[in-house]
Amino acid sequence: MDMTIVLNTLEEGAVSERIGTLIKGDMEVINTADMKIAHCMGCNLCWLKTPGVCAIKDDYESILKKLVYAENLWLVSDTRFGFVDWRGKKVMDRIVPMLNMYVEFRDGLERHEFRYHPLNFGLLYKGQADQEFLEEWSRRVASNMAGQSLGVYKIKEGELCI
């Protein structure tokens, strides 16, 4: 259950090997660049028709099946407009089946219930971005998944600056 999943959305899985040496414990790096993953289409079927199962049949389902047994999720992403780029955001938008339709108050905010168990979230990013903005985003994403933020770290020229 203490599994860590790293979704590396950088082209050709750059820096995957280095990440492998940095994160301790049971860990799997998934390079999403060569996977077939569509944008979430916001259809709500994973909440109201086939609870927990995404209507889009592509390579993301294998990621969901792994997240069910993970405790930590790291996103590795390039940046654009000061935020993660669309490739990084796309794999996060698809996380919706990990939550369910029911709502509750968590951390004083309206939140959806987590379908399986809490998931911690962290971000490794490349390029120019607003560090403080990304830290707040990471906290909010983690809070949505009932977990803690693992932090936001910048990758410099293939090196991780931690």
Partner: protein, 222 residues
């Protein structure tokens, strides 16, 4: 005034809550003598025309749902395909909405949207925010109709307000969201009654959609 509206939601237009909001807002624009053209990013075939419209007009509104605390990935992909310099000035405004109704839920997304116009050589025309959008899709449900009609009427008014003020940088637009944070009484009522009521509604909608599993099902747990 002529306005280009781009629907940044990935949901097909037929089921898009953002589209319903735009239709009401558009009625308000037209009632005040303005015209608009609409592009939906859920349809890839409209991307080229949307890009041309973005380049060629001076009043642009992106309407979008909040997705994982920010802009939907599909809209980020479209933004990535736009030129960042322009020949003639333009104003970029936003209509941001989402399922939850607390103002706090939207502030990070709003902050991101505020930062965008400058990156495209545009000025910022403000961001109109309102939550509680989930039920728009179920607006014909007899229990929801009254509340949803009222909500849609409010967007018509904001369309008129946009034409008379030229932007969303008004007190009226700022207050459109309602509560920044639910008052304690809502937390109490939620625990006592609302939670159960909301669950029942969700279960009823699911049944209408032919759902045969519990909503908190755990399909991938072996």
């Amino acid at each position: 005034m002529h306005i280009v509206i781009i629907n940044g939601s990935p949901r097909v237009q037929k089921n898009s809550n953002t589209d319903k909001i735009i239709q009401s807002f558009g009625k308000g624009l037209q009632a005040s003598g303005a015209t608009y053209e609409l592009y939906s990013l859920s349809n890839r075939q409209e991307w080229d025309a949307a890009r041309e419209a973005f380049i060629g007009h001076d009043q642009i509104i992106f309407a979008l749902p909040l997705f994982v605390e920010c802009v939907p990935g599909i809209m980020l992909e479209f933004l990535d395909s736009l030129p960042t310099e322009r020949k003639s000035p333009a104003q970029l405004s936003f209509i941001l909405h989402g399922g939850f109704d607390e103002g706090r839920q939207f502030r990070l997304g709003e902050r991101f949207l505020q930062s965008l116009p400058e990156q495209f050589g545009c000025t910022y025309g403000g961001c109109l925010i309102q939550g509680g959008s989930f039920l728009i899709r179920f607006r014909d449900d007899e229990k929801m109709k009254k509340t949803m009609d009222k909500k849609m009427d409010a967007y018509i008014q904001m369309g008129q307000s946009f034409v008379s003020n030229g932007n969303f940088l008004t007190e009226e637009a700022r207050k459109f969201i309602g509560y920044e944070k639910n008052p304690w009484i809502v937390h109490l009522l939620f625990a006592l009654f609302i939670k159960r009521m909301v669950r029942k509604n969700f279960e009823r909608f699911a049944q209408q959609w032919g759902c045969t599993r519990p909503l908190d099902d755990k399909p991938y747990l072996i």
